[in-house]
Every structure is written in C-alpha cells, then in structure tokens.
Amino acid sequence: MLQLITITPNWQFYIPGNIRKQIKLNRPTKAKISVKNKKIVIEPIKSKILTGAGMFAGSKPNRKIDVDNIRDFIDYSQW
C-alpha cells in the first residue's frame, strides 16, 4: 500500500504503523540506510546483543546449580 509521509525540516520522518506491521517492526531499532536507483532503502537490523540471546540454550551445567543464587556456586579462589 502506497502512503504519503512528510520529511521534517530536520530530515526526520515517521514510519506508518501498517508499514511497520508488514515488516514486523515492533520495537525501535537501528537500521541500515542506503540509496538504490534514486530511492531511499531502510533495512532494520537486529542489535548485536539480541543475536546472542539463548546462544547456549540446551547446555546443561556439569553439576546441579541454582542460577538465582549463582554466587553460591562460584569458587572465588579459582579466579
């Protein structure tokens, strides 16, 4: 769907809700911006830290631990 938006004197603009919905953009994020065939192309990018969420999912500790009280399982003499 084509929509008209306004580019402000400070070169800012609003991304309409239905456009955000179409690309599943539901939170503020960083984006890559470039020019292709005289058109502005904006590509939202996932933040680096969020790409690592759950990176060790499925890993089991080698002994029974309680993550809430993780300091009970840290041997400070091993630092």
Binding site: P28, A53, N62, R71
Partner: protein
C-alpha cells in the same frame, strides 16, 4: 526532559540470558535487553560480573574461551553500557557483617551508582535497604 533509568545487571541475569535455562525468566531478560537497546534504560555492569560470568560458563557450563569471549563482546555491544570498576569495600564489609550476606554480593551492591536499580533474582539484595533491587520481570 525524560531521565533515563539506570540499571545494573547482575551475573545471574546474563547466565540466564545466554543459557535460557528457564523459559519465563529468559523472556524477562530478553524484554529488558530490548528496552535497553531502545534507549529506555542505561545499563551498568562491573568487572566482577564479567569475572563471575567467566567462571560460571567455563567451570560450570564447560564453555571454551572463544565462546566466553563471544559473550563478552555481545555484552560490551549493549547500547550505552557503562563498566563500573570501583567498589566500596568498607560499605560492603559493613553489610556483610551486619546483614550476613555473602561478601561478593555486598561488593556488587557497593558498585551501584546513585539512583541505579540492581537487576537480579538474588533475594539477599532485598536485605540491603540502601539499594533498590528488582527482578527482571518487574521492568
């Protein structure tokens, strides 16, 4: 002007963020990281937390140096992250003696900048009246 809230992220938060050992609590960690990335909160961490993450991942989860360094790089990429390297041992020792809380917990609590909320599941922090501590799900 809206003042951005300061949050100090504890070790158990990061272990849960990376290991996803508990689905509900993992989701709370991701939600908070998303809020930090959108600029709603300013995150703080200390060198002690990095050392503890290193110990837990290497000694308890058998992760290698490369994997741990990857975690550190990810944490360091957090938007507006501030690393606190200063502790107040006198304050920590007072809490440790008077409240019978583990000394490392007290050292972490002593790192907190003014008006900064400690994000942790460790209930011992609630005993320290001078600091504000909350679970990730409370944000």
């Amino acid at each position: 002007m809206v003042k951005i809230k300061k949050v100090f992220i504890d070790t158990n938060f990061w272990i849960r963020y990376f290991t996803k050992d508990n689905e509900i609590q993992y989701k709370a960690t991701v939600d908070l990281v998303e809020k930090i990335e959108s600029g709603k909160f300013r995150p703080f961490i200390s060198a002690i937390v990095f050392l503890e993450i290193n110990f837990v991942l290497s000694q308890l989860y058998d992760k290698n140096l490369k994997q741990i360094n990857k975690c550190f790089d990810l944490i360091m990429s957090l938007r507006n992250l501030v690393i606190v390297n200063k502790t107040d041992f006198e304050k920590a020792l007072k809490w440790h003696r008077n409240l019978k809380i583990k000394l490392p917990d007290c050292l972490i609590a002593s790192c907190l900048p003014d008006n900064c909320v400690l994000v942790s599941w460790d209930k011992d922090f609630n005993k320290i009246k001078e600091i504000d501590s909350k679970k990730p799900s409370e944000f």
